[in-house]
Amino acid sequence: MISRREFLQASVAASALWGASGIGNWSRLAAQQVLTQDKLLEFDSFGNVTLIHVTDIHAQIVPIWFREPEINLGVGEAYGQPPHVTGADFIKMFNLQKGSPEAYALTYDDYVALAGTYGKMGGMDRIATVVKAIRAARPDSILLDGGDTWHGSYTSYKTNAQDMVNLFNALGTDAMTSHWEWTFGTARVKEIVETQLKFPFLGANIFDAEWDEPAFEPYKIFERGGVRVAVIGQAFPYMPIANPKWMFPEYSFGIREERMQEVVDEVRGQGVDLVVCLSHNGFDVDKKMAGRVQGIDVILTGHTHDALPEPVLVGNTIMIASGSHGKFVSRVDLDVRDGRMMGFRHKLIPIFSDVITPDPDMAGLVEAERAPFKAEIEEVVGKTESLLYRRGNFNGTWDDLICNALLSERDAEIALSPGVRWGTTKLPGEDITREDIHTVTSMTYGQVYRTEMTGETLHTVMEDVADNLFNTDPYYQQGGDMVRVGGMGYTIDVSKPIGERITGMTLLKTGEPIDPARSYVVAGWASVNEGTEGPQIWDLVESHIRKIGTVRLQPNTSVVIKGA
């Protein structure tokens, strides 16, 4: 009898040959130079269970530009492994063609030119079209949202996430897990979960902080197509560390690997046929967890915003990475028999907004959510001649602009801007609207602080954040990128341990080395400390852009990377 593992491998190989996987299909698309909705959705239904996965939409409900990272370094065992592969290396690894639609969707190479060719991606109305098409083929499909859904736009901020709650209810979501959702505060989260959400808000690792006991629904068992599927939620483990814990002091999170094993054993004990983990751990954390927790068939991974055209196999577990900002929807068909996953077929469906027809119902809902804010969000604040993007391990151009705003508007020597992975892209020549500024700054703790830090403290901060990113043990990684810095240059050796990575800190204004004993005036935003006072970052950035009129950024060479 063929082993389960052999089945999985056979299935991957076969689907590639038949052109039913993302890869096979995309290559053919490229060859034909044809991009149609039918081609994007083409899928030979397989097995008896279908999962639909979206994650990290960050409240982007209309089509957007989003340039994938140029620098996305992996350390330790993750070195050179997906998703730590970018640009030409990514194209080579996944056998894509340069300049093709998939290269545009998945890499940064030649982004501006390809954006002109292939157009914006995402949009809730296009996602709804894709979801409906999959459900038409497989009515029993399970639609799962990996979280970071409620946060990230002007309208989600102004409505306290109500727009996203309404749209995801309308989409027919079956379950979600969470991260930035919590930054709306415990009271709002509970209000939504208890009175508005039409589906469960899962988090096996969300515990009561006082009693250290499970506090939220850990899993949901779905009976679909004669199969019992357990979906276990795993919220972002480092909520109270990476985001302000005073906003949700009642709860504790953590990876809690032993808890995950316990819950998997519990649902297996109930005789489910398939175990799915809907995770916001981040890719490397999930990969480690997949190798240590026994009995998970599928991990739908999120948080680190990686989009991979093929599943990654860890033992008998398949990992699906569905990107961010609404750029992709993953469809995973599974053959589940006798309580076991016997095979799978997968496709990462790119949401090309010019190709996929908007679903009229969802388009109407999106329009209705945006209408009350139309004048405010569409107001033009300035123009950019530079490509503005954020994603990447070190400063993106949006971050350079934000740091420039912090330095000039707050009269600071050094600016610090958080290394978040969300935020959309603007092409050269485009107007910058108020909404654009919010897609890279929106949050419930956006106050800009102005303070003094010694050179020694600055070094400690830099080392601490670098270790959150480049610790060789994924369980110690929090899943953000490096803190963005203005006014100061530095060298980072990502192969070194904490305390030894950051050297050569230099005050750019004078070219002098940072003096550990001297105090520097530092402006920054997104402090996790309660009671931070100052103007909101989006107001400050708007003020700066209005003063300069047109954004023209010089290439940033202030960070020197070693050991990669």
Binding site: P240, D467, Q478, G479
Partner: protein, 139 residues
């Protein structure tokens, strides 16, 4: 501090007694405590399960738990604190399961160590690195 039989009874109705390790005039290191507890005996890697967060949500109150079937006593140490000793848990013969949960303060990133002395006189050890961070910017 030595637990008297009376203390044992007072604390140990469930068959478990815990004693905060005495503060010493000169702070003792984890190695000092280990030597004193084991007398230099070898420690097995298996036998005690230590559960600790990878990154502390609050360094002032870090939840730590251990389970050591067959242990007569378990010593908890925090090797980076000014005083490494945390507590020793003694389990009487009537103790149902040899486990405990506590919250401890960690001054910085360090290892939390649990050493179990088994009823047969052998020792086992488990260790976990707990990172105490100043807070980052999770994306």
């Amino acid at each position: 501090m030595k637990l008297t039989r009376r203390d044992m009874l007072a604390l140990g109705l469930g068959g478990i007694a815990a004693a905060a390790l005495p503060y010493q005039a000169l702070a003792a290191s984890a190695d000092d405590w280990t030597a004193k507890f084991t007398g230099g005996a070898a420690m097995a890697d298996a036998g005690v399960t230590l559960t600790a967060p990878e990154i502390a949500e609050n360094g002032n109150t870090v939840p730590i738990s251990f389970e050591a079937p067959g242990a007569a006593s378990v010593m908890l140490l925090a090797d980076g604190n000014p005083e490494a000793g945390v507590a020793t848990f003694n389990f009487g013969p009537s103790a149902g399961s040899r486990m405990a949960s506590v919250r401890i303060r960690l001054s910085k990133t360090q290892n939390v160590i649990a050493i179990a002395k088994m009823e047969d006189g052998s020792f086992a050890k488990a260790s976990a690195t707990v990172k105490v961070t100043i807070g980052g910017c999770g994306g």
